[in-house]
């Protein structure tokens, strides 16, 4: 429904619903930290940003020209072929069953993830902070008004 609804606000709401269900799957898979982070970051921050932009640009209904029917049909057919390829590949794949003796039930918890994040993955962690800084600078730079531009859109 995200991709098919005419009103972009409906798309955002369906996507928020999708994120909540994916967080539910994370809880099922014993990844509780990721479930909480998913809700906070994706459904809480990113989708709110999307809603801000949609309200800001005042898009109510999809009033633009749609793609030609041929393009839409080609898109759906290519997507369908890709799905068939995925299904065909994954039917042949054999998955290692869950190892009952080596199972560690603490891998989804915050403590274990935090320890691994700070011990083994420290360099990417710090680089992500630099990435955030550059993204923030970029976003502010892109949002600046040029000289001599009108004040209203």
């Amino acid at each position: 429904m995200v991709v098919f609804s005419k009103n972009p606000i409906h798309s955002v709401l369906y996507l928020i619903l999708t994120f909540f269900t994916i967080s539910g799957h994370y809880v099922l898979l014993n990844a509780q930290f990721l479930a909480a982070v998913n809700i906070i970051v994706y459904a809480g921050a990113i989708m709110v940003l999307f809603l801000f932009v949609i309200m800001f640009l005042n898009l109510k209904k999809e009033s633009e020209v749609h793609k030609t029917n041929l393009a839409k049909a080609a898109a759906v057919i290519s997507g369908g072929i890709l799905l068939v390829i995925f299904v065909a590949v994954f039917r042949k794949a054999t998955f290692v069953p869950v190892d009952a003796t080596n199972f560690n039930s603490q891998i989804g918890m915050v403590k274990t993830l935090g320890q691994i994040l700070y011990k083994d993955f420290l360099v990417p962690f710090e680089l992500v902070s630099v990435l955030f800084l550059s993204a923030m600078v970029g976003a502010v730079m892109l949002g600046k008004k040029e000289e001599g531009e009108r004040n209203t859109f």
Binding site: S11, L34, N38, F50, F56, V98, I116, L117
Partner: protein
């Protein structure tokens, strides 16, 4: 706790892989079908989430936390990318008055 949760015993991994692939394909169809730049962006986020689900599945079934750490980094990168992407879309609206991606067909306007 050493016993495997019954969720992991009962749901085979195939189902989660299929679910993740389906979400990914829906995202791909969304990117290819729509002309609204915001909807395309949201479909890209849907694709990223499908991959997150797949990584978390394998991390849970193999008791390897590397997958979940990778998901954490993917979420961080996606958040930064959304910030910059939305700034670009706002700038596009400011110049073109429309966020139809079909009008972006030349290098300089």
């Amino acid at each position: 706790m050493k016993e495997v949760p019954e969720i992991l015993q009962q749901i085979p991994q195939n189902y989660y892989v299929l679910l993740s692939s389906t979400l990914f394909i829906i995202g791909v169809i969304g990117v290819l079908t729509r002309r609204n730049a915001l909807i395309i962006f949201m479909s890209v986020e849907l694709m990223l989430n499908a991959v997150n689900l797949l990584l978390t599945t394998f991390s849970a079934y193999k008791s390897d936390p590397t997958g979940q750490v990778f998901v954490f980094f993917i979420m961080a990168v996606a958040a930064a990318e959304v910030a910059v992407g939305l700034a670009i879309i706002v700038m596009m609206y400011r110049y073109m008055r429309s966020i139809d991606v079909g009008i972006l067909d030349r290098l300089k306007f």
